[in-house]
Symmetry: C2
Amino acid sequence: MANMKIIFRQLFEKESSTFTYLLGCKRTRKAIIIDPVDITANRDAELIRDLNFNLSYAINTHVHADHITGTHKLRSFFPEVKTGLGSSAKIAKSDEKFPHLHIVTVGDISLEVRHTPGHTNGCVTYVEHGLGMAFTGDAVLIRGCGRTDFQEGSAATLFKSVLEQIWTLPDHFQVYPAHDYKGRTVSSVEEEKRLNPRLTKKKEEFIQIMENLNLPYPKKIDLALPWNINCGSEPA
Amino acid sequence: MANMKIIFRQLFEKESSTFTYLLGCKRTRKAIIIDPVDITANRDAELIRDLNFNLSYAINTHVHADHITGTHKLRSFFPEVKTGLGSSAKIAKSDEKFPHLHIVTVGDISLEVRHTPGHTNGCVTYVEHGLGMAFTGDAVLIRGCGRTDFQEGSAATLFKSVLEQIWTLPDHFQVYPAHDYKGRTVSSVEEEKRLNPRLTKKKEEFIQIMENLNLPYPKKIDLALPWNINCGSEPA
């Protein structure tokens, strides 16, 4: 997808089924990347250079538990890049911590930061109003949502976040999640409001569903969290 | 991506790294799917129903050698669906065989069929001029191209096809390939004309590159070809 001002690319990392998103401003040749992964950082850097962009920001929707962020690796290619996270991700290091409703601006790209805690305390959704896109991280997945049993997760909090911060976006806004495990790439606000099997339920039923998922302990969490709290670098 | 008239979805099958594309006409609720895969046909059918579409066409860019097409399975969900292939795919069965420059019309969606032989004799590229999208199959991949050492492949023929049928599209047209093995999802005509490491070469050098790839025998070809020639059904 592209409009006159912005180049947009969705990228996929197979091992953790993570989506990375690149947005580049055609006028200033500055770019921003959302949720890069360490093992695909070289690919991302190559694409950014191929498209003649310089990377201004490498930001995350939250402190990931299933992969190591690529922000640190990307800094070796783009020394001036700033890392960013929601300001509620208290324990994590980051060049910038975005308060609720902060606007991240890179050339003609504006990303509104909406705090959407619940999967983790520090989760945010980045909203690009011009193209109509919401990068929901693990708050809303396609026909699903992130688990709420780790990292101060809370089903009640997630339910409130989604209702107030995501369902209030225009129906046609595209929902770009941090993951999909079935090869789907995008959904829309209308579609998830109508079809999400968990988030279409009443609050109490949603909480009950989330409390009874009985998911296994995340494979990579003990490795990923300390690195991601340290911006993708090896913990000191 | 969406315009006022068409809903567009890119889908991914991890095992063979195949992209499937769904285009739906909002007015008539009729849809067309390009390069569906058998093992993700249920997912595709569910999405088509979720979006309130009926499937008019299930078409392929070529007779695939690395996976079994999902066209046959999709017919069990959508009995009226027509299958389609390029008319140069002589040996394969299909409800329709599209001649060069034929227009496949589904509601407000028009796909121009451009014969782009070289990877196989029957390869086509489907071009949607309204949104500016080319579904190139294995003719042009992102920074690559399909192999030319099987199924009557010919490097010289592929080179001619790409130059005459794909490089002649407007620079901004999006290139949607049948595969990507690095998690990239899309490129553009401009980008591939500038950066494709094979197809930016002179013809003789391109042929030499293709003749020296020394690729292994395709894992699934002996299974996939007989099925795909039979429209995704078990061969008689």
